[in-house]
């Protein structure tokens, strides 16, 4: 595999994803989500936020979108990465050159993932800036680079699943729907199992819940934050995630995300390597 060719496809994929309105709309939503709530909170003179929490309000902006918008952006970028090339018939032009399918696959995967990383960075920076502008200087910002990396890694789970579905289904709309359905079904199943587990006191339900995709994805960044942020930020973290981390440890969360990533990409790559490059569809 030649790094220069992979980089070419990465750069191409970033441009291609940015040329799509859907992704840009989600980015715009993220920007609004990162700024508007701070403005509203600072101007509404609410007393629910004690002044002692002000230095940690950036935490809310950095972590809250992760549970929803960042995952959606990941799904939208990944589900269309392969499928849209088939739908538009552009894969044929790209793959009829002396490049291997693996170079193309890896380049597109990493290109979309790099864009996602940039959006996570943007989300974090905007949250910090908005919190600083509205509630004054923020504390414990030294953990932000780590948070960004952990959030990006956590997003790898649904990014990989959506990427795989895009390759298997080869229809972008259906891939988005399936990947989003996996996300919602997983989230709802996690909530349902958690309630049943609490009511029945059965431990086996908790074990099942641990392996549901949204559990490691939602747990990892919280676990990282809990272990790295001072106790002053605990109330904000509790506000973001009432139930707290599902997984027993950071390592376990990371391993589960890694496992989901490996299985999804292996399936997608095997399918892509074995099957024909389809003509224009859709």
């Amino acid at each position: 595999m030649r790094p220069s060719v992979v980089l070419t496809f990465m750069s191409y994929e970033v441009r291609r994803a940015l040329a799509r309105r859907k992704v840009l709309i989600f980015v715009a939503f993220t920007i609004l989500l990162d700024t508007i709530p701070y403005y509203i909170l600072s101007t509404s003179h609410l007393t629910v936020i004690p002044a002692s929490d002000y230095p940690y309000l950036w935490v809310a902006g950095v972590f809250a979108p992760l549970s929803f918008f960042i995952q959606f952006i990941a799904i939208f970028i990944a589900a269309g990465a392969m499928s849209e090339e088939y739908e538009q018939g552009t894969a044929e032009m790209l793959l009829s050159k002396p490049v291997s399918r693996t170079e193309y696959f890896v380049g597109k995967f990493l290109g979309g993932y790099f864009l996602l990383f940039c959006i996570v960075v943007l989300n974090s920076l905007l949250s910090i800036l908005a919190a600083t502008a509205t509630f004054g200087n923020q504390s414990s910002l030294s953990i932000v680079p780590g948070v960004v990396l952990v959030e990006t890694y956590a997003s790898l789970l649904f990014y990989s699943v959506a990427f795989m579905l895009g390759e298997l289904i080869r229809r972008s709309s259906i891939s988005y729907i399936f990947a989003t359905a996996v996300y919602f079904a997983s989230d709802l199943a996690g909530l349902y199992i958690s309630i049943v587990s609490e009511l029945t006191g059965t431990n086996s339900f908790k074990v099942i819940q641990m392996y549901i995709p949204t559990s490691p994805e939602g747990s990892l960044s919280l676990q990282y934050a809990i272990s790295n942020l001072p106790s002053g930020a605990a109330r904000i973290l509790q506000f973001i995630s009432a139930t707290g981390p599902v997984e027993p440890s950071t390592i376990f969360s990371a391993l589960l995300i890694g496992a989901y990533f490996l299985v999804s990409t292996a399936v997608a790559l095997a399918f892509f390597s074995r099957y024909d490059v389809s003509k224009k569809v859709g």
């Binding site: 191409y12 441009r15 552009t90 032009m93 009829s96 050159k97 002396p98 490049v99 003509k279």
Partner: protein, 311 residues
């Protein structure tokens, strides 16, 4: 026999509802080979097998002696491809696309800009270097696809209906580009519906219909093989009915008729009747201007072959 650059060796693609193949033919180095057939006959599938985009169900395809699926990078090196009705991302400009192609074909960074300028000049798109593909006409997009195929000094060109959407000047220009390419030792597989273009450019052809190769070989051979006769067009002045009758009576002549002031002689494919016809015309006191093989013979052969092959 020359060196085969492209080989279809009993290649079959089974789509379930439809089967393409077995296809057997080869294209030799330096040849411009016409690949003919109606829509849906299997031309594009064969081309896609050749480029390693589609896996043959059975048989083999070789490009420069290599399997384009197993050795994709090596097999496709120095091979340019222009698809039928190319689909190109609309957010790219010709310059962006050619930069991407340059990277794919492994051009050195120092050569990229010069190569892009040369290619855009060659296909007449130099003025549109920074215009988004979404704003280009179909013909321009076709020319842009041809430019991508020509990037990196290819040795083999695979052209799927390259003339579609081109104006007459563009077609003539492209014809010259192909001729120059072949003169320089390049090999071209040209899939086209335009029989006059194929007849004009190609030395050999293969005709495919319903996934089966009906005929293949040098153009003249294919024509006579299909039609079973050849046609001579005689331009002469003052030819009498008696003279025409005498021509009709020559051994090997099947039919004599007039069309647009020319005399059309149909003769058996092996019969060399030209000297005798010339002799008869001159002896009758008429003036003989020219005598040549009939035009659009390939088209006639193509239509005839399809008619005989059935739906």
């Amino acid at each position: 026999m020359g060196q085969a650059v492209i080989s279809f060796l009993s290649s079959v693609k089974d789509y379930g509802r439809k089967e393409i193949g077995p296809v057997d033919f080869s294209v030799e180095k330096g040849e411009i080979f016409g690949f003919l057939g109606p829509n849906g006959s299997g031309k594009t599938t064969c081309i896609r097998m050749l480029l390693g985009l589609v896996r043959p169900t059975s048989g083999r395809v070789e490009l420069k002696g290599l399997d384009p699926l197993k050795n994709h990078v090596q097999a496709l090196r120095k091979v340019g491809y222009s698809p039928e009705l190319p689909n190109i991302q609309t957010f790219l400009t010709p310059s962006d696309l050619l930069k991407l192609t340059a990277s794919e074909v492994g051009l050195k960074p120092s050569e990229v800009q010069r190569e892009i300028s040369t290619m855009l000049e060659t296909v007449g798109l130099a003025e549109y270097v920074n215009v988004k593909v979404g704003k280009l006409s179909k013909g321009m997009i076709q020319r842009l696809a041809i430019a991508t195929a020509l990037m990196g000094s290819p040795e083999v060109l695979v052209m799927d209906e390259p003339m579609i959407g081109l104006d007459p000047a563009g077609t003539a220009h492209l014809r010259d580009v192909f001729r120059d390419f072949a003169k320089g030792g390049g090999t071209i597989l040209l899939s086209s519906h335009m029989m006059d273009e194929v007849e004009d450019l190609c030395s050999s052809v293969a005709m495919i219909h319903n996934g089966r190769v009906l005929f293949k070989g040098p153009v003249a051979e294919v024509v006579t093989q299909v039609l079973g006769e050849k046609e001579l067009v005689v331009e002469a002045k003052g030819v009498t009915d008696d003279c025409l009758k005498s021509i009709r009576g020559l051994q090997g002549v099947i039919d004599v008729r007039t069309r647009d002031g020319s005399i059309i002689v149909s003769a058996q494919k092996d019969a060399e009747v030209r000297p005798k016809i010339a002799q008869l015309i001159v002896a009758s006191g008429a003036q003989l201007y020219t005598m040549k093989e009939g035009e659009r013979m390939l088209e006639r052969a193509y239509i005839d072959a399809l008619r005989r092959a059935g739906p």
